[in-house]
């Protein structure tokens, strides 16, 4: 197919015509999206619907989409369930999540500043090494890390295994991916800012704390958000390091509840799952922009 045009005006006219011809496709796209999005939303709807049913109704055939009677009390039952101990699980998860967020954000920012703003010998070599470490999967170091924590625990006179500490302690030593993310951001800030502050007698740590950190708030919130999500989500970490049920996190507690009950009380299980998901959804709607920007930068390497 070829388009013959004599001048620019003709070009534009043809372009407009082609665009008009695309209108019906738009409707096709719309219909396709409605169908696909219904499919993506259906599991959520089903989960909420089940969480409001009586145990009998979860087993009725054919299943009802709208629960009748609707039992919001299922949520109270779950919150007060002795086998689940929701308040304790939430507390443990929050301890790990908050400490991880504080530790990762602070330490990663410090290290990223060193890599981005200080031209010292070996900077790029060490940075390259750090990037390479991102390739190492957690299962590879899972076993020896266990031994390292046991060793530290035995020699520091405070046991680490069987406490929540192994889950948040490494966060205070920076995480490669977040250091990378923050370094890229710090590099975009004009060097003149640091130079002017240096002339005014500001120290390196002063520049970091008073100039760079306030400017880096968007990038720091991306790091904080994703660290929180990671901690809230983590299952393998708690599974390896936590033995005592009094230290279970939500992820571990929910899984234990399911495996002990053989997955029969689906209404309660779904209510508990909804409760675990809700904070994440709220966080998403509060920080939607940060989320999308954060993920988008992930792919920008």
């Amino acid at each position: 197919m070829s388009v013959n045009t004599l001048n620019g005006n003709g070009n534009k006219r043809i372009a407009r015509q082609t665009r008009r011809r695309h209108r019906p496709e738009r409707w096709l796209v719309f219909v396709a999206l409605v169908i696909i999005c219904t499919g993506f939303a259906l599991p959520f709807i089903w989960m909420i619907s089940t969480s409001l049913k009586t145990l009998d109704k979860t087993m009725s055939m054919p299943p009802q989409l709208l629960p009748s009677p609707a039992i919001p009390g299922n949520y109270l039952t779950v919150l007060n369930h002795p086998k689940l101990n929701f308040p304790l699980l939430t507390r443990n998860t929050l301890i790990v999540a908050v400490l991880s967020v504080v530790g990762t954000t602070l330490s990663s920012a410090l290290v990223a500043y060193g890599f981005a703003r200080i031209r010292f010998k070996g900077n790029s070599a060490l940075f390259g090494l750090m990037l390479a470490t991102m390739m190492i999967p957690f299962p590879v170091i899972m076993v020896p890390l266990f031994a390292v924590f046991r060793f530290i625990g035995e020699h520091a006179a405070m046991p680490l295994l069987g406490t929540l500490t192994p889950l948040w302690l490494p966060a205070f030593f920076g995480s490669a991916f977040n250091i990378f993310l923050l370094r890229q951001f710090f590099m975009t800030l004009p060097l003149e800012l640091s130079e002017a502050a240096q002339i005014d007698g500001c120290s390196e740590i002063g520049i970091f704390w008073r100039i760079i950190i306030p400017l880096a708030r968007p990038a720091l919130s991306v790091v904080a958000l994703f660290t929180f999500m990671g901690a809230w989500n983590d299952f393998l970490g708690p599974l390896v390091y936590i033995q005592d049920p009094s230290q279970y996190t939500l992820a571990l507690g929910l899984q234990t509840f399911q495996s002990q009950h053989g997955g029969t009380e689906w209404n309660l299980l779904m209510a508990a799952s909804v409760l675990v998901i809700i904070p994440v959804i709220i966080l998403f709607f509060l920080a939607q922009k940060t989320f999308i920007q954060g993920i988008a930068t992930t792919g920008m390497k």
């Binding site: 372009a15 796209v29 979860t58 299962p139 020896p144 675990v276 994440v280 999308i292």
Partner: protein
């Protein structure tokens, strides 16, 4: 080294010291220990005893090791291409300016935020053979007719037919495909990465292709996809590494069953380490996993030279 250089080195090292310490204690030492353990008989209870290559030799003759590797490979070869097609297709659809675009985007993205354990609970319920929503839907006329059609086609080429209701997680033939299907629900983050990549495709390029008479398919194949190839490449590597580490979902949903049909590499590693306390054996597996990751990443980088197009070059 001049005084300025020395001062810079000093403050540089101070700033990166958290990472230097963390790298040494939580990565370098564990990696070296893991390498050493992989040549040892080590049960965590006594000191490691050096046994040379025995762990690796035993692994090569261990049918469970091979099965876990094969399961992981089969899962990856199902979930990866499917995930790639679905996420790319969704990104292209969501990139069109249609009414309700932001609602559609949110609906596709939200499932990827659901914590792994909650998602496992939900899909256990959806996949439930007797009461699950999926089998209920498959009983409905349009889907039932489709399955019947597929069965006629399968019968024509003398293949076993689909028996309904499908025991998604308890039938060894269906368990891995079921988990791969479930993984499609979480493509939201990949879609967002593709959408960001699509913003970087210059509009002029597409318009000029349009003026040259390229149809929608040609524009996609010859302009958009080549421009998007670095992002596709990045997502592919992340997906491969992710599949090799798959653990939580099968651990929670099937425990590796039925008949080890969903027993993944990382699950066998975990069981060796923390169930059978064979830390040396597990470490040998860890090193094999690391080598596979490095090999696959290297291979994808090498292949990428043939099809990834970087805009700056």
């Amino acid at each position: 080294m001049s005084p300025l250089e020395r001062r810079r080195l000093g403050s540089g090292l101070v700033f990166i010291s958290p990472w230097l310490i963390g790298f040494t204690v939580f990565l370098l030492i564990p990696v070296c220990l893991s390498f050493y353990y992989s040549f040892c008989d080590y049960s965590l209870l006594q000191t490691p005893a050096f046994i040379g290559l025995d762990n690796y030799r035993e692994l090569l003759g261990d049918p469970v090791f091979w099965q876990s590797l094969r399961n992981t490979g089969v899962y990856a070869s199902l979930a990866l291409p499917a995930g790639m097609l679905v996420s790319l297709g969704l990104a292209l659809l969501l990139n069109q300016k249609v009414v309700g675009q932001s609602i559609f985007r949110t609906l596709i993205f939200l499932p990827s935020l659901v914590p792994t354990v909650a998602s496992a609970m939900l899909w256990l319920w959806l996949f439930n053979a007797k009461l699950g929503l999926i089998n209920t839907l498959l009983d409905m006329p349009p889907f039932a007719a489709t399955i019947q059609g597929i069965n006629v086609a399968l019968g024509a080429v003398h293949l076993p037919q689909i028996q309904t209701p499908i025991s998604w997680l308890t039938d060894p033939a269906w368990a891995l495909p079921a988990l791969a299907f479930m993984s499609l629900w979480g493509v939201g983050q990949t879609v967002v990465i593709y959408l960001a990549g699509l913003q970087d495709v210059p509009g002029e390029l597409i318009e000029s292709a349009e003026l040259d008479g390229a149809n929608a398919w040609q524009r996609l194949w010859n302009v958009t996809l080549p421009m998007l190839s670095p992002v596709i490449f990045f997502n592919m590597i992340m997906a491969i590494i992710g599949a090799l580490q798959e653990f939580s979902i099968p651990y929670i949903m099937t425990g590796g069953g039925p008949a080890r049909a969903t027993y993944f590499f990382t699950m066998y590693l975990y069981d060796n380490a923390f169930t059978y306390l064979k830390m040396g054996y597990a470490s040998a597996m860890a090193w094999i996993q690391l080598l596979i990751v490095l090999l696959l990443t290297g291979l994808s980088f090498w292949l990428s030279k043939r099809w990834v197009h970087y805009q700056s070059k």
